[in-house]
Amino acid sequence: MSLKFELLGLIRDRASHGYEVKTRYDELLDPTRLVQAPQVYSTLKRLERDGLVRVAQVDQESGPERRTFEITGEGERELDEWLWGPVEPEPRLHTVLYTKVVLALLAGRSVEQMLDVQREAHLGRMRELTGLRQSGDTARAVLAEYALFHLEADLRWLEFTAARVDDIQVELNRHVNSARRLS
């Protein structure tokens, strides 16, 4: 995951040194703290190399020097372009689940059972997220909602597919048979 725009956005808001950027990133954008500090530092280095941020100040009271970064004009331009442009809509073709459905049917296994097991796993995650949403503030809640809406969409797809398993089976058999005839 690229942190380019996240860090540019935080630095435009406030000129900061690396540790401060990392702390604000965790606080504002990533409550699950998936991003490690080295990733933040290497991204900052790249942003500086590309002229999107520059060092505004260097402090060295004790220990290693602390460099405070500020955004450049070019950095602002790129940030705004990203911020006000649309995000690429992810196709979210659920290839893993779909692949499992097809392979289960080819193997003559119960797809419904497979979907039930998956549904329970999804519901388990949704329970955790519902708990997180209830315990957090609004900013955290909307972040949890994002995942909840997507998992809900997966579940709807599972229901939709479960209701059409017989049709898919018929189509697959047709494919398999015509392939046999060709060979």
Binding site: Q113, R119, L123, L129, T130
Partner: protein, 249 residues
């Protein structure tokens, strides 16, 4: 449509209260309406203070299961026990009383009496139990305040928003201090944001008081509030735990 023969793996078992008696238990419950079998060998066990979601597509029999558990319907076969008592062994009057004192109900639509105010609607179960009016209103008032409805006591259902009306319904379900609440699509008629807010408050209230809930829904977002989910499909109750057990064997 899956025939019952086609899915023998789904034993109609709900082994969720093993070793425990459970507060509410349906065993091998079958219910037909004329020639239609709505529920076939339904099993469900609910422990005290537990929220169990019953999911399934519409027409799957989940509401029939709920009505059998609540003693609204009597099963053709099988039995339902509440706190060690068989519901079918009770008289109609005893079952009605149980529903007023120990059970609470939240439905999707049209459950508030349009002629009564919010506080009267909330107090209704207590008034039916012949509690003194002043006392009943005071308890109802406190519940309305819990759900952020202070100041709206005198409004009639037509003068409330969907979310407010649903909160009144939830307050009414809790007003008798029940041990089980039966909720059938409790937020089905609300838009998503309002539904989430009502469910947050509802589940918060029941958890803090240890009230068990049977939550019927087709919506995974709603089911995610429960500790556990069972599925009803074609009139049969299945639980994922059972599916796994069978698959592993």
């Amino acid at each position: 449509m899956t025939s019952m023969e086609a899915s023998p793996a789904f034993v109609r078992a709900d082994e969720s209260c093993p070793g425990k008696r459970g507060l509410l238990r349906a065993s091998d419950v079958t219910k037909s309406f004329g020639p239609t079998v709505a529920l076939h060998g339904g099993e469900l066990c609910v422990s005290a203070g537990e929220i169990v979601a019953v999911m399934g597509p519409s027409g799957s029999g989940k509401s029939t299961l709920l009505h059998c558990l609540a003693g609204v319907l009597l099963p053709d076969q099988g039995l339902v026990e509440y706190d060690g008592q068989r519901l079918d062994a009770m008289s109609d009057a005893e079952r009605s009383r149980l529903r007023r004192t120990d059970f609470g109900f939240v439905y999707q639509f049209g459950q508030l009496v349009p002629e009564l105010t919010a506080v009267e609607n909330t107090a209704l179960p207590l008034l039916l139990e012949r509690r003194r009016r002043r006392e009943a209103v005071a308890v109802a008032q406190a519940w309305l305040e819990t759900f952020g409805l202070a100041g709206l006591e005198k409004r009639r259902p037509g003068e409330l928003s969907g979310g407010e009306a649903q909160r009144v319904a939830v307050a009414r379900a809790l007003v008798t201090d029940p041990r089980v609440i039966f909720a059938d699509e409790p937020t089905g008629s609300l838009d998503s944001a309002a539904g989430v807010a009502v469910l947050d408050e509802f589940t918060g209230a029941v958890r803090s008081r240890g009230v068990a809930v049977v939550l019927v829904t087709h919506d995974a977002r709603v089911a995610a509030y429960a500790e556990r989910t069972v599925l009803v499909r074609d009139g049969m109750v299945t639980s994922p735990d059972t599916a796994r057990t069978v698959r592993a064997s």
